[in-house]
């Protein structure tokens, strides 16, 4: 297996071409992730801890390597998630907008094809997502909720593992040049 000659950093955008997807995939995959989160925990409660919409957002932002594209997909997925939650619209929206933007920015300088990088990014973005959401909950909604560090770290590892696996399958949906 050769992941960009085992280099983790890339020198320029030319070294790692931008991945392209068909338009319907950009619509269907996030929708499926949101539906998964709405429907599957009914039967398997533990699946509620999987943040599939976040994983999908991170993936598309990373591989497309466009900050505006990343924040747009983050905002749309987040708002869709908000509209199916009990939170005011914008909580997940703002969080995922930030995540999408940062993921796309990181995607421009890191080799996001490398599984180790993907694992670390999956973990990092889960923790970042939970932290920003917690900040917004306290700061904007005034709810006195505590940030559960240990739980977040454990779930971060779980989501990172799922992210690496899911990224592998999503790679197959890329349009080949």
């Amino acid at each position: 297996m050769n992941y960009s000659d085992n280099r983790l950093l890339i020198g320029s955008r030319r070294e790692s071409p931008i991945s392209r997807f068909r338009a319907w995939i950009l619509f269907v995959v996030p929708l499926a992730a949101i539906l998964f989160q709405v429907y599957m925990p009914l039967f398997f409660t533990f699946l509620a801890y999987l943040e599939l919409p976040l994983i999908v957002t991170v993936y598309f932002a990373l591989v497309r390597r466009s900050p505006i594209g990343g924040l747009t997909i983050g905002a749309l997925v987040g708002l869709a998630q908000d509209s199916l939650s009990k939170n005011p619209l914008g909580m997940f929206g703002i969080t995922k907008t930030l995540v999408g933007y940062i993921a796309a920015s990181i995607g421009m300088s890191l080799d996001v094809e490398h599984p180790l990088i993907r694992l670390l990014l999956g973990f990092f973005f889960y923790v970042l997502h939970q932290f920003v959401f917690w900040l917004l909950t306290r700061g904007l909604l005034g709810q006195q909720v505590s940030f559960q560090t240990q739980r977040t770290l454990v779930l971060g590892v779980l989501n990172a593992v799922v992210a690496v696996t899911l990224f592998h399958f999503l790679d197959k949906l890329k349009v080949r040049a």
Binding site: Y39, K86, N87, P88, F92, L140
Partner: protein
């Protein structure tokens, strides 16, 4: 200027998008108003998909269970095994039917006998967000559901309607960290506020240390919150810890412990009485069993009975069998326990004639058929109670299966 914008284009767009969402958020929080149109689009788009998935899942499960497995069994085992499989399947089907009927019966019984007006609904999805405890049900404004209505099951309260859409509603569960409801304890009528913990259980806040509550005691809704009708079971206390200024009371919510499939939305709440503190609580409603048929002896009504006619009328099946064997033995001058092994036993098929009570009916059987089941009351042996059993707010279910004839077998307590 153009160069500057191009240079900072990404960050500018980011700030604009976040600012727009902050304005949206501030509008909702400050005015306490929701942007219904966006949510309505999303829920209306997702609910049919969730229903379709549920329909397909149900169909696939039924198809797999009813056809494929049975077909395999048929091919492998031949006619006898096919027959066995058919019977097993039929048995399973009947069990499922019974379970479904019981669940539906419990819901319809509650719906029919509670003074509150309710609408049945089915859970079709969960709200997004790992920490949120909220579900979508398939009843909305079309069915008369409104925001703030209580959602219950026969076991207890489930939550309250947080948002309503035409074909679905979002229900905040009792276990959610922002849920709160007024409750009152069963024994000493201690008032408190039931709050979700964000996990599987709840706690009751604002109970001063001097108030007495015990582990195992039940909390019922107090009706103070004007959402839940008074007298609905909320949960059972699992732990009580002293604290200052209030006790720490953990409660296991009864409405959600068996999982959520079907729920009832309280369209019009009517308060009920809090059940008596002496009762065993909502988890173990006790039905008053009708007395078994009496078998009085004409010549000596108390013969063979250690406690006389009353015991004969209220004895168990074993008591009646023992008495019958004694009568058969007496008729053949046989004394049980005295014959050597191998000696001739008495003819147990001998019919011993019994006198018919005046009127030709069995008074005990009449009592059995007329005795009403009592839920939530103290355990009382039939026939020994000097007074009629008290009626409680939970009436016998409508359309419940008829009790077996009292003259053929003792009536059993109805299924719960």
């Amino acid at each position: 200027m153009d160069t500057l914008l191009n240079r900072y284009r990404n960050i500018t767009v980011l700030l604009l998008v976040i600012f727009a969402q902050l304005v949206l958020l501030a509008y909702q929080v400050k005015n306490e108003r929701d942007v219904r149109i966006i949510r309505m689009w999303a829920v209306t788009a997702v609910t049919p998909v969730a229903r379709s998935i549920e329909f397909v899942r149900d169909g696939v499960t039924n198809f797999t269970g009813s056809y494929l497995f049975l077909k395999d069994a048929h091919e492998e085992n031949g006619r006898m095994h096919k027959e066995l499989s058919r019977l097993k399947l039929e048995n399973q089907y009947l069990k499922n039917e019974l379970a479904t009927a019981d669940r539906a019966q419990a819901l319809s019984a509650l719906q029919a006998h509670t003074p509150s007006r309710m609408a049945a609904a089915r859970v079709v999805g969960t709200a997004t967000g790992g920490n949120s405890k909220a579900v979508f049900v398939d009843r909305g404004t079309v069915a008369g559901v409104e925001k703030g209505m209580a959602v219950v099951t026969p076991d207890g309260i489930v939550g309250k309607v947080l948002a309503v859409y035409p074909t679905a509603s979002l229900v905040l569960l009792v276990t959610d960290s922002v849920f709160a409801a007024g409750v009152v304890s069963q024994k000493n009528h201690v008032r408190g506020v039931l709050k979700g913990s964000g996990y599987g259980n709840c706690r009751v806040d604002y109970v001063p240390p001097e108030e007495k509550v015990e582990v195992g005691e039940w909390f019922y809704t107090s009706g103070d919150d004007r959402i839940f009708p008074k007298g609905m079971p909320a949960g059972k206390i699992t732990a009580v810890r002293p604290g200052s200024p209030f006790q720490e009371i953990l409660v296991d919510p009864s409405g959600t412990e068996k999982g959520l499939e079907e729920v009832l939305i309280v369209l019009q709440a009517v308060h009920q009485e809090i059940p008596d503190g002496k009762s065993t609580g909502a988890d173990a409603p006790v039905y008053l069993a009708p007395p078994p048929p009496a078998a009085p002896d004409a010549e000596n009504p108390s013969a063979g009975s250690p406690t006389g006619p009353a015991a004969t009328a209220t004895g168990t099946e074993a008591d009646r069998l023992r008495e019958r064997y004694k009568e058969i033995g007496d008729a053949q001058h046989h004394r049980f326990g005295e014959g050597v092994p191998g000696s001739k036993p008495p003819d147990f098929n001998l019919k011993v004639e019994r006198p018919t009570p005046p009127g030709g009916t069995n008074p005990a059987a009449q009592t059995a058929n007329s005795a009403p089941p009592v839920a939530g009351g103290p355990t009382t042996r039939a026939g020994t109670s000097p007074t009629p059993p008290p009626r409680t707010s939970v009436a016998p279910p409508a359309g419940a299966r008829p009790a077996p004839p009292a003259s053929t077998q003792p009536a059993a307590a109805p299924r719960q």
